[in-house]
């Protein structure tokens, strides 16, 4: 199965590029000129995102390094353990929406400590793979188009994260427990 998945990942991008270029060329589009014209926007878009991302990463950095995240963790740990969430993965549920690299580091530690095929290893893998870094996505996607009023998007994103975590615990206990 891993071979098939690797094969799909390896082929996807080249196939899409070949497909787009061939159709464009067939339709008589000046492929090189138009490609470059589009690609140049990538630089400006990237630069525009920097201030938004910087602001968000600084706030997350302060919040984590000060120990404030650990305080919240202490508050939620007991109720979360009550509903059957193993205590080793509880920090992951708070880090995951905030920091992609932070969460990946945490999962790597868990997998190294408990082994990739342990229950904790499988659960942490499922949690890491099943949701995205909500604050990163909000910052980058809305920052790129200068949205100031995000309305309910953050709340809905966090609801999705919470449901994803509970679903991960539930399905892992069912399948691997």
């Amino acid at each position: 199965m891993i071979e098939l998945i690797n094969l799909m990942s390896e082929w996807a991008i080249p196939v899409v590029i070949f497909f787009i270029l061939s159709i464009s060329f067939y339709k008589g589009i000046k492929v090189y000129d138009v490609f470059v014209e589009g690609a140049v926007e990538g630089i400006a878009t990237g630069i525009k995102i920097i201030p938004y991302l910087l602001a968000m990463l600084v706030a997350i950095g302060v919040f984590r390094s000060s120990g404030a995240l650990d305080l919240i963790l202490d508050l939620v740990a007991i109720p979360l353990q009550r509903i059957g969430i193993p205590k080793q993965v509880i920090p992951l549920s708070l880090i995951r929406p905030l920091s992609g690299t932070g969460a990946l580091g945490f999962v790597t530690d868990l997998i190294n400590q408990h082994g990739p095929d342990s229950f904790i290893g499988r659960l942490a893998s499922t949690m890491q793979g099943s949701t995205e870094t909500t604050f990163y996505v909000v910052t980058v996607y809305f920052g790129a188009i200068k949205i100031k009023n995000t309305r309910h998007a953050i709340v809905a994103g966090l609801v999705a994260d919470l449901v994803g975590f509970i679903a991960a615990v539930f399905i892992c206990q069912l399948v691997f427990g």
Binding site: S9, S24, V34, E37, V58, R151, H152, A160, V163, G164
Partner: protein
């Protein structure tokens, strides 16, 4: 919302740091975060330029519009306010496909492209539209068929069966995405009642 969250995270963090005596860690973290933000964007610019170039071609060749039409049945439910042949739907479909295949580096630029196109339909350019919120939630909920990063990590850690988490991940991410879409629809309703 972001103004309050941003201020609260920094203010609470600083008060806690003062009490805990962790000011040194905090000042290191602040400088490291600023460097990290530029590093992330530098890494993003390459794939973003590639995909924006390809998307420009795909638009001129009519491929994006074709994808948008394929996406019609689902788009009617998820994005009822967007015209059925609008290129934004094509970009959204490209972004979702990249996410499903676990190509995160390609999904982000395609998502930004889709946001730009959604912005052209937005009445108030500083306020997120319903479609933008729906699209954002689908992305934050991490809808994927192949969790590439975690599979690589498990292979690296010597797992005897690295792909055994694909099924559980699919279940969890499907629950997360459905919950996000429902929460989003409910919050849109609540918001419109207030006005």
């Amino acid at each position: 919302m972001l103004n309050k969250i941003w201020f609260a995270m920094i203010a609470i963090g600083m008060v806690v740091a003062a009490v805990n005596g962790r000011m040194e860690e905090v000042s290191v973290a602040i400088l490291q975060s600023t460097e990290e933000s530029v590093r992330i964007v530098i890494k993003l610019i390459g794939p973003m330029s590639l995909w924006l170039g390809l998307m420009k071609l795909a638009e001129e060749a009519g491929i994006v519009q074709g994808l948008a039409r394929l996406f019609k049945p689902l788009a009617k439910v998820l994005f009822p306010k967007i015209p059925v042949d609008h290129p934004a739907l094509g970009s959204i479909m490209m972004n979702l496909s990249a996410n499903l295949l676990g190509l995160g580096n390609s999904a982000t630029p395609l998502g930004i492209k889709a946001m730009h196109q959604l912005q052209s339909l937005n009445k108030n350019s500083e306020t997120a539209s319903d479609a933008m919120c729906t699209f954002l939630v689908i992305n934050t909920s991490g809808l994927t068929l192949i969790p590439t990063t975690i599979l690589a990590l498990r292979v690296g850690a010597g797992s005897s069966n690295p792909t055994e988490i694909v099924g559980t991940t699919l279940f969890a991410t499907a629950c997360s995405t459905i919950a996000g879409i429902i929460a989003n629809k409910l919050l849109i309703k609540v918001g419109s009642l207030q006005i």
